[in-house]
Amino acid sequence: MVSGPGSMSGTSSSEARDAPRIGLFVTCLVDFFRPSVGFAAVRLLEQAGCAVEVPAAQTCCGQPAYNSGDRADSKAIARDVIAAFEGFDYVVAPSGSCAGMLSHHYPELFADEPEWERRARDLARRSFELVAFLVDVRGMQAVADAAYAGRVTYHDGCSGLRELKVKRQPRALLSSVAGLELTELPGAEVCCGFGGTFCVKYPEISNRMVEEKAADIVGTGADTLLAGDLGCLLNMAGKLKRQGAPVRVRHVAEVLAGMTDTPAIGDTPEP
């Protein structure tokens, strides 16, 4: 089995032939901040019988441009992504926000260019958020062998929740993690205040939002916060750490894959 960056699970050659080919959309934040999430995604996808590839020609889904009203640059980036992920059976991202961009917003972007719209729709049809893909497409009902001793609470990232209807899937898999106890977060469906460039364009408002979120998280008494989007996680971890709250913050994929020996997000490495 995968033990982290560097090794790869051995799938027998016949399995490998039937295995769906996945293009992993790593996301710019995972690539830059937390590669472990990418490797957790690879492990989970392999456990679900998939063959995972990572096209080198990927950078970002283009949301910073798209949400800043820069349609020309968004389209240019979207064209690159569409081209890079053509030919894969599925495109999977460990982020509801980026998966939502691929599956909902790319087709919108090309509404005035029929040929690109067709290609965007084709990509959209094949694109999924990681945990929803595991449960809804691959029929995963329980994790392979993950255990996590802790009381966990879960924040629903906005795009995953509202655009992709990711809600029960992470809970279903988390309930199969040995030793894990889930306490629901009040206001789990309320935005954490990240919002991409929003958090630096309107930092004071963003701060109020993440303050309220942090108070709700601490109020659950959970020792661990999970979510499916690294943007939200960096924001919430950043606030919790600034306040000195003793809550560990991880991407849900890390726990589901049983890859939790790395320091949690924003935590001091063990000496």
Partner: protein
């Protein structure tokens, strides 16, 4: 009114440091969200009803001129008069003329956001006519010289202690030692004060939730009954409404009414739903002698045929702001104009200009909660994005932001270069944050680090690890 939307950031700063406001806004969840959720849970056909509501309004907007003309014909037929007002100034003047012709000294007013939009009170007062707000919330903010901060709960930014303070200060004819410590006492006092004013008013002005084309009727919904007293007691009733309030039939208004109160307050129906058609006919027991409808455009017709047209489906229920985390943080006044919250962010740029209202569609995380509760299925985030695109085209966004984004987008299109750059940056930040796992401060990243720590990158990028793994070099 003079908008202050351009100063949104400063307005928000003030609001965020206002403890009383914070306390007042804290009641929104229990007051609005939970009640709405409970009512809707009891109504399995709610989603179908939303589709019907959307279809009715889409159809009406596609034939808006025809339905407005039919409405006018019906109002005329029933003895009333329609006044078309392309601009706020024309609407104000039409109303002032009617009041002056009647020799009015005081006018009572039901709650109307359009009256706020055209700054009617100031105009009447400047011409020697005293306007008296009769909706409790509007009455309170009129005493305080404030603007409404919410479209259905104008005084939601206040706690009851502030209301009591205003009553003590203004109702000087009453015993200064009377207790005013609960909502009941405040309501009773306002009601007693208003009773005399209702009887003395020469003209009553109300808004309208709907204008019904097939009958020429106007409809208001209230919970206090003040609207009925406003429109029935004086000799003259003036309705002020904007063009998109028209619906084809009574049946259509009934469909949308089923959405309205549920979305607004979680009630199945508001306490009062009042239909008014024309002036008093011979033999009628009550009703006004004159019935006028002033219909305002103020930029709305220019939105037809644009992506922002969908905002004209809005029925002003307030659900979007009741569920908006930005609104809950800064309150309605920060938005700097009559319509706050997500619908304000989506429509105000069209009504007061993108130069003035540019911040509003930007101050959103696109969390989508507004769209998910909007009974008329208005895609509020998409419309906000539409305005951001117009801003970008017209170079209204800050130059530094545009340059930064342009550079980033340029690099994002060059994967090799991008990989090189991210590798260096991840290594650098990873090293800076290695000991603590996070950064307390980072040059040029104050927007982030002034408020929260920045979790440090692990040090190598995923692409680096993956390339190493591919080439068999391992870690």
């Amino acid at each position: 009114m003079q908008p202050t939307s351009h100063a949104f950031v400063e307005n928000a700063h003030r609001a965020l440091n206002d403890a009383q406001l914070h306390a007042a806004l804290g009641h929104m969840k229990a007051g609005f969200q939970d009640k709405r959720a409970a009512t809707i849970a009891r109504m399995p056909e709610f989603e179908d009803l939303r589709d019907q509501g959307r279809a009715i309004k889409n159809h009406t907007l596609a034939h808006l001129d025809a339905y407005l003309e039919r409405f006018e014909a019906k109002v005329t037929e029933t003895g009333g008069r329609v006044h078309w007002a392309p601009t706020p100034a024309e609407a104000r003047d039409a109303i002032l003329k009617i009041c002056q012709a009647a020799g009015a000294r005081t006018v009572t007013k039901g709650k109307s956001m359009i009256a706020e939009e055209i700054a009617l009170n100031e105009h009447l007062a400047a011409n020697g006519i005293e306007p008296i707000e009769t909706d409790l919330g509007e009455y309170i903010i009129q005493l305080r010289g404030e603007l409404p901060s919410h479209i259905i709960a104008p005084a939601i930014h206040l706690v009851k202690e502030q209301v009591a303070e205003s009553f003590y200060a203004h109702h000087t004819e009453l015993d200064p030692k009377r207790p005013l410590d609960d909502a009941r006492a405040l309501t009773d006092e306002a009601r007693a004060m208003l009773r005399q004013r209702f009887l003395a008013a020469d003209v009553g002005i109300t808004g309208a939730n709907f204008l019904i084309a097939e009958t020429g009727s106007t409809v208001i919904v209230t919970n206090e009954g003040n609207g009925d007293l406003t429109q029935n007691l004086p000799r003259i009733h003036i309705v002020i409404a904007s063009i998109e309030k028209v619906v084809p039939t009574l049946e259509d208004s009934a469909t949308i009414l089923r959405l309205l109160a549920r979305s607004a307050t979680g009630q199945e129906y508001s306490a009062y739903t009042t239909f008014s058609t024309g002036p008093k006919r011979p033999g009628d027991l009550d009703g006004p002698d004159e019935f006028h409808v002033v219909i305002l455009d103020n930029g709305r017709s220019a939105l037809l045929g644009t992506p922002a047209q969908e905002t004209l489906r809005c029925i002003r229920c307030g659900a979007c702001m009741n569920h908006c985390p930005i609104y809950a943080s800064v309150g309605g006044h920060a938005y700097g104009w009559v319509i706050p919250g997500p619908i304000g962010a989506a429509i105000n740029p069209g009504l007061i200009g993108l130069e003035e209202a540019g911040h509003l569609p930007n101050a959103s995380t696109f969390c989508g909660r507004c769209e998910s509760v909007c009974p008329m299925r208005i895609p509020l985030p998409s419309i906000m994005r539409h305005w951001r695109e117009r801003q970008h085209e017209r170079k209204l966004s800050p130059g530094t932001v545009r340059a930064g984004l342009g550079l980033w987008a340029w690099a994002a299109r060059r994967p090799r270069l991008y990989r090189f750059g991210t590798r260096l940056a991840a290594a650098l930040l990873g090293r800076l944050g290695r000991r603590r796992g996070r950064l307390k401060r980072l040059p040029l990243a104050g927007g982030w680090t002034d408020w929260r720590d920045l979790p440090a990158p692990e040090g190598r990028t995923f692409q680096q690890h993956w390339a190493a793994r591919r080439s068999g070099a391992g870690r």
